[in-house]
Amino acid sequence: MVKTVKVQALDLNVRYGTHEVLKALSLEVYGNEILSIIGPSNSGKTTFLRCLNRFNDMYASFHFKGTLTVNGVNIYSDIDVEKLRKKVGMVFALPTVLPMTVLENVAYGLRRHGIKDKNKIAEAVERSLQAAYLWDEVKDRLGEHGMKLSGGQQQRLCLARTLAVDPEIILYDEPCSALDPISTAKIEEAMVRFKEKYTQILVTNNTKQAARVADRTAFFLMGQLVEVDDTRKLFTSPSDRRTDDYISGRFG
């Protein structure tokens, strides 16, 4: 099977003020795979993730060096950031439902990208909610305030919202850290099925989750990539001792 390179990071150096967060980091993400990123806290996982949709730009002390391309385009050149974020969606650790109805939550992104046709919106909302395994639970509650859903439903609503703007890449920042096991299972099930359509990058503190869903896994430590390999290989016979120490729970 030919792998297309979807995301390519070359020699990334990121610092906040004088604090170096990513050091000489190079990593490729292939089309339609799930790449999980594991590592102890402060290893730069989330920073890397937030580079991919230029989400670190909002910090004044953020300094970026290196090359980061999505579909071959350097995203730290003069590009339309809003278009990039439409293409590269993100699901956050805490379910962040916008203060509006279930329907409007999913329609929010569509409207911001200029889609006004009611039928088109209704159709996209249903499709996205179905893809996020939420449609059956909320189809009669579309007019309710999004906050009234349970935590797990809220996170799936956030997922549906991200799908609605038709991204190519989905970034997950510890998406299940606040969820119960059943909701977690539903999200993971959705992720595996999404592989047909999307490239997914999953930052997680839960190594078991990485083992369950990811095709490849990258291990970050202190802002450096220690190794990246097929998930099974990385978890059974890692080539670096530090990886072995981490996944077997000897530190981190």
Binding site: A60, K83, L84, G89, F92, L98, Y108, R112, C158, T162
Partner: protein, 294 residues
């Protein structure tokens, strides 16, 4: 051992009582103020009907026979308040959005202290500045016979209401979790879209409260309006004519009345009207704040 225990109980009891008394003191004061106002104010309605008072257009309290119609004063207050609201609310909210969402940290600190200073200026000083600068400017710009108009008062009071609106609205905006903004941005919304569609609606109850408190401040304001609105007790045709407000009337005439006269009672009745207006405004603000909290 036993004794120190009961001593502690006594101490607790005393402290509890003291806190309780302080707590209900404010309510007691409000009740006393209202009772006092009511007692003096309602005495007027023995001689004058409440409709003549509220809807009468003539305010000639010391002519014979006297007329105690406060409609022109109510309209005066309304003109000045509405004018000030129209000026202060958009600028105030925009300024709050700028401070909390857009401004870089340094600018934010400078602006915030600037707003605090603006809030700390005594109203008589603002009135004085208004008289010296604003009133001649209004007169010349709009070619009026006098610059002492409702418009001048509205402009001045708009600036007085702004610090209240800005600081409370800014608190409300800051209370919106940063996650909302991030969620909107992550979907490809621009910064302005995230402010307009997510942050402002989420802070709406606090912003309504800010506006209401700003309006309350304007209605109750006395000194500055008395100095720059011209104090003519007649219903104006437009905003560029002198008006007299409820507050200015009380402040200007209280010193000259005979205690126990109808004129004296009528000023207290005006106080009741003001009390009811501000009470309603606070009620609306309160309602707006608590609606969201549920």
């Amino acid at each position: 051992m036993q004794k120190s225990f009961s001593q502690k109980r006594l101490q607790e009891w005393i402290i509890e009582r003291c806190i309780y008394m302080s707590g209900i003191a404010s309510i007691i004061f409000v009740c006393l103020i209202f009772l006092f106002l009511a007692k003096e104010g309602f005495s007027l309605f023995k001689n004058i009907s409440i409709f003549d008072f509220l809807l009468g257009q003539k305010w000639y309290p010391i002519s014979t026979p006297p007329f105690f119609g406060i409609l022109s004063l109510i309209v005066g207050s309304l003109y000045v308040t509405l004018g000030a609201t129209v000026i202060a609310v958009p600028i105030g909210i925009a300024s709050a959005v700028y401070i909390s969402e857009v401004a870089p940290p340094r600018v934010r600190e400078i602006l915030k202290s600037g707003i605090e200073v603006l809030a700390a200026i005594p109203s008589v000083v603002l009135g004085f500045i208004g008289m010296m600068t604003l009133v001649p400017w209004v007169k010349n710009t709009f070619h009026l016979s006098t610059g002492l108009t409702a418009f001048s008062g509205a402009l001045m009071l708009g600036f007085m209401a702004m610090p209240t609106i800005v600081s409370i609205a800014e608190d409300a905006l800051n209370a919106v979790p940063k996650r909302y903004k991030e969620a909107a941005l992550a979907l490809g919304a621009t910064r302005w879209q995230s402010i307009w569609r997510v942050i402002l609606p989420a802070a709406s109850s606090g912003i309504v409260a800010a506006v209401m408190l700003g309006i309350g401040r304007v209605i109750g304001e006395t000194m500055a309006v008395m100095m720059i609105t011209g104090n003519a007790a007649r219903i104006p045709d437009n905003i560029f004519q002198p008006v007299r407000t409820l507050t200015a009337t009380v402040a200007a005439e209280m010193g000259e009345t005979v205690r126990g006269s109808d004129h004296y009672y009528s000023l207290f009745a005006i106080g009741i009207v003001l009390f009811i207006i501000t009470f309603c405004i606070n009620l609306i603000a309160d309602f707006a704040v608590h609606r969201k909290a549920k």
